[in-house]
């Protein structure tokens, strides 16, 4: 059985027919076609499917798709503003904070959720923010540094 679902994805209204009981991750990737969201476990334990729902970080694999009706969903595909990269994307590049890159979209969204609420986080705040996101390549340190850099550059822009 298929269920119609309508929600806002990165600012645009989208509609899709999803399997009844489907999670948001599968609907985003397979029904809507946003392949920027990655799945690593479908168990809620790796964080690579992290998206923002109404501004809050959520694991799309544990989110019933139809519960997102009329809500705002943000993925890494909407992070970049036209030609301009988001400060987090620039900082991740400058810090070489990705190797295989598979956890990167989820990391970026977890970091964005942090910066939305806390524009100048401490190292501990950053560690807490990405604590649910598994990275098997980098050893986390470059990612932590990148998020701190992005926050600092945000500070400069506001100043």
């Amino acid at each position: 059985m298929k269920t119609p679902i309508q929600f806002r994805l990165n600012g645009e209204e989208v509609a899709a027919f999803a399997d009844s009981g489907a999670n948001l991750l599968d609907v985003l990737r397979e029904s809507v076609g946003d392949l920027s969201v990655k799945g690593g476990c479908w168990q809620g334990t790796c964080g690579s499917c992290t998206v923002l729902i109404d501004g809050a970080p959520r694991l799309s694999c544990l989110t019933l798709a139809e519960s997102c009706a009329n809500k705002s969903v943000e993925t890494v595909a909407g992070l970049r503003r036209g030609a301009d990269l988001h400060p987090l994307q620039i900082a991740f590049m400058d810090r070489f904070a990705a190797q295989c890159g598979y956890c990167t979209p989820g990391m970026l969204m977890a970091a964005k959720a942090l910066l939305n609420r806390n524009p100048n986080p401490s190292r501990e705040d950053v560690i807490e923010a990405i604590a649910g996101n598994i990275c098997r390549c980098t050893g986390y340190e470059p990612i932590i540094q990148a998020v701190l850099d992005a926050a600092r550059s945000g500070e400069r822009r506001r100043a």
């Binding site: 059985m1 269920t3 399997d19 009844s20 009981g21 489907a22 999670n23 479908w42 168990q43 809620g44 964080g47 992290t50 729902i53 809050a56 970080p57 959520r58 694991l59 694999c61 544990l62 989110t63 019933l64 139809e66 519960s67 977890a110 959720a113 942090l114 560690i127 807490e128 923010a129 604590a131 649910g132 996101n133």
Partner: protein
Amino acid sequence: MTVNVKTFPRLADAASALSSERGARYLAGGTLVMRAVNEADPAIETIVRSTDPSLLHIAVSSGRVELGAGVTMAAVLAERDLAFLHPVARAVGSPAIREAATVGGNLFSPRGDFATVLLVLDATVMLVGGGQRELPLDDFLARRERSSALVSSIAFRRPAADALRFAKVTRVHPRGMSVLSIAAQLPIASGKIAGARIAYNGMDHRPVRAKAAERALENHTLDAAGIASALSVATDGTSPVDDAIASAWWRREILPIYLRRLLLGAVRQ
């Protein structure tokens, strides 16, 4: 996918659907049920949900606190009046999990850190359906697998300032699964502990009260000498198991160590 989803504006209707439907499971935050659905758990044929606003209700008065079952850990952390619960709410998963994980769902979690704290607060569970209306949390946890009723809210008396303590032991920082966690409410009357409450998570298949340790603390001072007898009986009545994170042996060995550190205030939150 062949899972039916039924959403009810009123919790009572969700409760009756839950008890009447075959293979129906109630979906709260999703951390347990959506994972099971993703893994095609054959026991789940129907997902029952409710959008009842009462589920998100938070009532904090001077004496009493009532939390709707659907209140998330993130919502608890956003409530300044619930500061005494922030250490445990923060201990539940990552930020994304805390946006989903609910107070009610935690009562069914295999690693219920929040439920463990509710135990030492002598919380009462309000139920809808299945006859029973109110149940002490301890009794509820004992029969949670069999209960067909739906949790609507949890109520408890607000603890005295600084009376509530919580420690979580994990291998992975800052947010790993609990090897075990310990909650304690230690009211002090004229320098002595009066009406101590201690509960463990990870020392049994569900959060449990440490009644022997509680008794041993009664009328003792909260210092190394005063807690000695409690530490000696700390593991009485517990039955931890081996799992992928730690063995029962190690859990038994470190429980008294961390209980001592918690009681003497030597644990960083």
